[in-house]
Structure formats: structure tokens, C-alpha cells
């Protein structure tokens, strides 16, 4: 028995495994689609709008989280707080005008996460600990600045961030723009390719001359910008803000990233996958709602489905 036949057999097995994973994924997507389309009222404009709204806010954060996961830094527990804090910054600087306030909020989100990214990237500080530290500092800073109160600024021109454009909720347009920009950065820029390399093998990337620290910092910068977009959209939607606005978004976002099929150990995944993950979770929630499941059963079923999907994905990818 020569090595050739062994190798070809292995390759065949790899091919089969990959097909199997693909088949499982297609079947799961088809099941969700059939499940959704057979639900009365799912295709009504009302429920589609609810769906789009549901995915927009959390979707932006999930896109940001994708970059952190991709570079091998698991997750950030600070993105939810970044959403809330940049919403507060946006509302507080509305007196400058809507667009400058938008810029200030994005810059704020970037500064918050870039500091964390630099610690993680340049001296390899532990990402989870750094994010918890960031969370504490943001909570404390926000309570200091607002006195723990909800803030209600009277601002004009928030229409840029809410309402509809050509029948589509504007929030959804911002989200889709975030997805497109994110995927373009990942696929077609050098630093985007560097991020994937860093995530798949940090040592190999360093040896190959990749500026790993810059790639990781950039991933955090993008995560901050995306979270700030979500914060601005939420602030415009509610016209007021406090630190509760984005709490819990961290877990929902990482769930969407994993359901989409980005590997938790980094190095494999994409923004488009996260879009699919966010959409799948939102569809399941809307369908359960339309089918008259109680709120508590919705939580349980969504949890079980997330667990099952994560198991299926990693099952196919294990080596």
C-alpha cells in the first residue's frame, strides 16, 4: 500500500466531510426558510419590518464582534457598554448638529476599543480581562458624567437615522452598509487578510512578517466603530439614552457570530456569515412570536437552537 493511495483516501475523506458540512448547513437554512414561509403572516410588511429592525441594532455589534473573534481574541464583554456609551456621547453632542455628533460618537467608540485593542495587540494582554476592565471604566465614567440619570436632549434632524427610505427602515440600510464595508475590508484590504492570518496562527503570521499588533488593534477599532453605529441608531430611535441601552448585546452578538459559522478559535469566518447568523436568529424569534409562543418559550427555544447550531458547525470543522 503506497503513500499515494493513503493520501488520496484522506483527501477523499476531507472532501466528503466538507460536503457533509455543506449539506447540513443548506438543510438547516432550508428548514428555517420552510418554517418561516409556512408561518401565516411572516411575509407581511409588518413582520418583515419587525425583522429588519430586530437585526439592525444587534447586527452592527455582531459585525464588530466578528473581527474580534476572527483575530483569535474570542469575544469582548465591553461592546454592549460601548453601544450605550456612544449613544450617550451622540445625544450629548447633538447641539453640534446631527452629523458632527455622529462623527464624535464614532470617534468615541473607536478610542474606547482601540485602547483595548492596543493592549491586546502590542503586549498580548488577555482580551477578556481587558474587555471587563473597559466595561468597568465605561460604567463608572458614564455614571460620573450623567449622574446615573437617563438623558433626553432636544435635538432636531434625527430623521437621518430613523424612519424609512424607499419603504425600507433606515436602520436596516445602515446595517447593510456596515456589512458591506466590513466584508470589503476583510476580503480586499491587506490588513483584513492580515487579521485572518493572525487569527489562524499568530506565530506563523509573526514569522511571515505580518504586523500582528496593528492587525489586532485594527480589528478592535472596527468593532468600536460598528458598536458606535449601533449606539447612534438606538439613540435616534428612542431619543434618550442610558447605560442599559446596549446591555446584553455582547452575548447576543457572539451568539450571532457563532451561529453564522465563524470559528471561535479565530482564523475562519466572515462578515457575511455573521449576517446570516443574525438573520437566522431573528427569523426564529419572529416565527416563534407569530406562532404564539410565549416570551419565555421563545428564550428557551432560541437558546436550544443556538446550542444545536454551534454544535453542528464545530462538528464539521473539527480536525
Amino acid at each position: 500500500m503506497s503513500g499515494v493511495s493513503l493520501r488520496s483516501r484522506l483527501r477523499l475523506r476531507g472532501l466528503r466531510a466538507r460536503h457533509l458540512v455543506l449539506a447540513i448547513r443548506v438543510a438547516a437554512a432550508a428548514a428555517i426558510a420552510v418554517f418561516a414561509l409556512s408561518t401565516p403572516g411572516f411575509t407581511s410588511p409588518l413582520s418583515i419590518n419587525a425583522l429588519l429592525n430586530a437585526i439592525s441594532f444587534i447586527g452592527c455589534v455582531a459585525v464588530g464582534m466578528t473581527f474580534i473573534t476572527l483575530t483569535g481574541n474570542i469575544m469582548s464583554l465591553c461592546l454592549g457598554a460601548t453601544v450605550s456609551a456612544s449613544a450617550l456621547v451622540f445625544l450629548a453632542s447633538l447641539s453640534l448638529g446631527v452629523l458632527p455628533a455622529f462623527g464624535v460618537a464614532i470617534a468615541f467608540g473607536i478610542v474606547v476599543t482601540a485602547a483595548q485593542g492596543a493592549l491586546v495587540g502590542y503586549i498580548r494582554a488577555n482580551p477578556i480581562l481587558v474587555s471587563i476592565a473597559g466595561l468597568s471604566l465605561l460604567l463608572g465614567g458614564a455614571a460620573f458624567a450623567t449622574g446615573g440619570q437617563r438623558i433626553y436632549p432636544g435635538g432636531e434632524g434625527l430623521q437621518v437615522f430613523k424612519g424609512r427610505f424607499a419603504g425600507i427602515p433606515i436602520e436596516a440600510l445602515y446595517f447593510f452598509a456596515t456589512v458591506v464595508v466590513g466584508q470589503l475590508v476583510l476580503s480586499f484590504t491587506r490588513i483584513g487578510r492580515d487579521m485572518v492570518m493572525v487569527g489562524s496562527n499568530l506565530r506563523a503570521a509573526t514569522a511571515a512578517g505580518v504586523d500582528t499588533a496593528a492587525a489586532i488593534t485594527m480589528a478592535y477599532v472596527i468593532a468600536g466603530a460598528c458598536s458606535a453605529v449601533s449606539g447612534v441608531l438606538l439613540a435616534a430611535r428612542y431619543g434618550s439614552g442610558d447605560m442599559e441601552l446596549g446591555s446584553g448585546y455582547d452575548y447576543t452578538a457572539i451568539a450571532a457570530v457563532l451561529v453564522g459559522g465563524t470559528a471561535i478559535q479565530g482564523g475562519a469566518g466572515s462578515v457575511v456569515r455573521t449576517l446570516l447568523g443574525v438573520t437566522a436568529i431573528a427569523i426564529i424569534e419572529v416565527v416563534l412570536l407569530l406562532r404564539g409562543f410565549s416570551q419565555q418559550l421563545q428564550y428557551l427555544v432560541t437558546g436550544l437552537i443556538v446550542l444545536a447550531v454551534i454544535m453542528l458547525h464545530t462538528l464539521g470543522e473539527r480536525r
Binding site: 480581562l129 468597568s136 463608572g140 455614571a143 428564550y299 428557551l300 454544535m311 464545530t314 473539527r318
Partner: protein, 334 residues
């Protein structure tokens, strides 16, 4: 002198150094007014310790074997609700069922991870969401009151004005865990699994069993925290306990559990939890604004993240060398 400092900052001793530092810091802030150094503060520190300590212990054990058990936050809530709903007549029954739920959820997650070779973050995230959903279903999305006030009162009854029955129970669990880790083969097995899982397996250790065991222990520990907390509050709610994860993880890491695995001890974790609790109740006893607590905690965490960073020494050396070279060049050209 420097050797003594180095020893105090050694990962084994550092949690206790940090704790002592927190006490001295608060003592200086207090400036002899006696608000901080009072029996009341000790009691409230211990009450907080009872709330977060066991969760941090469970999470810390999972970090010790290079996993991350996110589901502890879900177990705290679920076990609390189960205990409050089943333990009205007989609180021991509620305790047993709550603990059982924690162990079962830990074993199931451990089995999924070891049999399917999955990462713990993904599985325990799914576990967290599922457990939270289960808690919502069990409680019908409402806060459940616990009418057996006698139990609530006796759990919070002070012993010698310093600790309550509840915090004494937590301390006891920590002591048992520390003894087991230090003097039985369980401790060695856990450390071996965390240090180098492949080597441990080659040496003949059934690491799958260790992983499942650690997740069961982590589930039981978090469940005990949830049961005791819900009994002593006299109520359980599916939402109230969601924010326990970040403080618990912070406490475990301040307590010297290394995220690269294989390093850490229950007593260190206890010191880490104690540090955060001393800061929280100490600062509020002195009467500073609540946000100061978050800022101080955040700064300590940043400092630890910074000092523990594996590349810090290399970066500092590189920077120093570059400076020396630049100076040499400047001298040559002048």
C-alpha cells in the same frame, strides 16, 4: 528589598498582596473616621463575598483547565428559581434540586465538549442561553417570592457579628476546594490538565473525565451561590442575576488564575473575590459616589492585564535598546 517585592508580586502571592493593598488604600482614604474599619463593613464584605465567591470559584476552576464556563451565570439564576419554587416546605429539598440542576448542566456540557471535541466558549454560550430560557419558562417570566421567611432570616443571621450563615457556608466550600486541590490527586489532575492537556493524556490521565468533573463542580458551585442568594433574598427572578459573569471572571483573574491554564488556587480566587468585595463595600462605607468603585475596579483590572501581558517584557526591552542606540548615534554625530 527588590527580592521581597518580587516575591510579593509572584503570581502565587500576588492575590493576597493586592488584597492587602486594597485594605491599606481604603484605610488611608478613611483617615481614621472608622467607617471602613468597622464590624459592619466586614459583615457586608462577607455578604458580597457569598454572592460572587462561589460563582468565581466555578468559573476560575474552568479557566484553570483552559476552558471558559460562561454558563455559570445561567446556572445561578436557574438553581435559585428551582430552589425557591421547590423548597418552600423543605428548604433542603430545594437545595438538593438546585445543586442537582447545576451538576446535570455541567455534566451535559462537559460530555458535549469532550465527546464532540468542541470549544467551551461556544458550548457554554449555548448553555447560558438555554439555561436562561429554561429559567424564564419555569418562572413564567415573573419574580417568584419565597414565603419561608424563617429560612431567609436564619441564612442571614450573623455569627459573632462578622459573618452570616450564608457567607460561612461559602467559606467552608472554599476551604474544602482548597484542601482537595492541595492534598488529593484531583488537584494534581486538574493542574496537569490545565498545564498541558496532551502531555497529561500521554501520561495516562483521563483528561475527558477531568474536564467533565470540573464543569460539574463549576455548575454545583454556581448553583449553590444561586440557591443561597435566592433563599436569603426571599425571592428569585429570571433577570436579576444576569450581571454576575463579568465580576466573577474579574475576581478569578485578580485571584491569580492564569488564562494560559494550569495556574491558580481556590485560596487565590477567594482573595481575588475578597479584593473586589472590599473595594465595593469599603468605598460605599466611606461614602464615595458609587461610580468610583467601577473606576477603581477597572483601573486595577487594567493594571493586572498590563502586568500579566506575555509580551510586555519584550516590548519594554526593545524600546530601551532602541533608546540606547539612538543616544549612541546622537553622541557619535555630535
Amino acid at each position: 528589598m527588590t527580592r521581597a517585592v518580587a516575591k510579593l508580586l509572584d503570581p502565587k502571592l500576588r492575590p493576597f498582596t493586592v488584597m492587602a493593598g486594597a485594605i491599606v488604600f481604603l484605610g488611608l482614604l478613611d483617615r481614621g473616621t472608622g467607617y471602613f474599619f468597622s464590624i459592619g463593613t466586614i459583615f457586608s464584605v462577607m455578604q458580597l463575598f457569598a454572592t460572587f465567591g462561589l460563582v468565581a470559584l466555578g468559573l476560575g476552576l474552568s479557566i484553570l483547565i483552559r476552558e471558559f464556563d460562561l454558563s455559570v451565570a445561567g446556572i445561578v439564576g436557574l438553581a435559585g428559581c428551582i430552589a425557591v419554587m421547590t423548597g418552600v416546605g423543605n428548604p433542603w429539598l430545594g437545595l438538593v434540586l438546585g445543586l442537582g440542576a447545576g451538576v446535570v448542566s455541567g455534566v451535559i456540557q462537559g460530555l458535549i465538549m469532550t465527546r464532540l471535541h468542541l470549544s467551551s466558549v461556544g458550548v457554554s454560550l449555548g448553555g447560558l442561553l438555554t439555561l436562561q430560557g429554561l429559567t424564564y419558562v419555569l418562572t413564567d417570566n415573573k419574580t417568584v417570592a419565597y414565603p419561608n421567611i424563617a429560612v431567609s432570616l436564619s441564612l442571614n443571621a450573623p455569627i459573632a457579628h462578622l459573618i452570616s450563615v450564608r457567607s460561612a457556608a461559602c467559606l467552608a466550600v472554599f476551604v474544602v476546594a482548597a484542601l482537595a486541590m492541595a492534598y488529593t490527586h484531583v488537584g494534581r489532575d486538574v493542574i496537569a490538565t490545565g498545564s498541558d492537556r496532551r502531555a497529561a493524556r500521554v501520561a495516562g490521565l483521563n483528561t475527558d473525565r477531568v474536564v467533565i468533573g470540573v464543569f460539574a463542580a463549576s455548575g454545583a458551585s454556581a448553583a449553590l451561590a444561586g440557591v443561597l442568594l435566592s433563599y436569603s433574598l426571599g425571592a428569585a427572578s429570571p433577570v436579576a442575576l444576569a450581571d454576575v459573569l463579568a465580576p466573577a471572571a474579574a475576581a478569578a483573574i485578580v485571584g491569580g488564575v492564569s488564562v494560559v491554564g494550569g495556574r491558580g488556587s481556590p485560596m487565590g480566587i477567594a482573595a481575588g473575590v475578597m479584593t473586589l468585595c472590599i473595594l465595593r463595600s469599603g468605598l460605599s462605607a466611606i461614602g464615595v459616589e458609587p461610580y468610583v468603585h467601577d473606576l477603581v475596579t477597572g483601573s486595577i483590572l487594567i493594571a493586572i492585564a498590563f502586568l500579566d501581558a506575555p509580551e510586555l517584557a519584550r516590548r519594554v526591552t526593545a524600546w530601551r535598546l532602541a533608546r540606547v542606540e539612538r543616544q549612541a548615534l546622537a553622541r557619535k554625530s555630535s
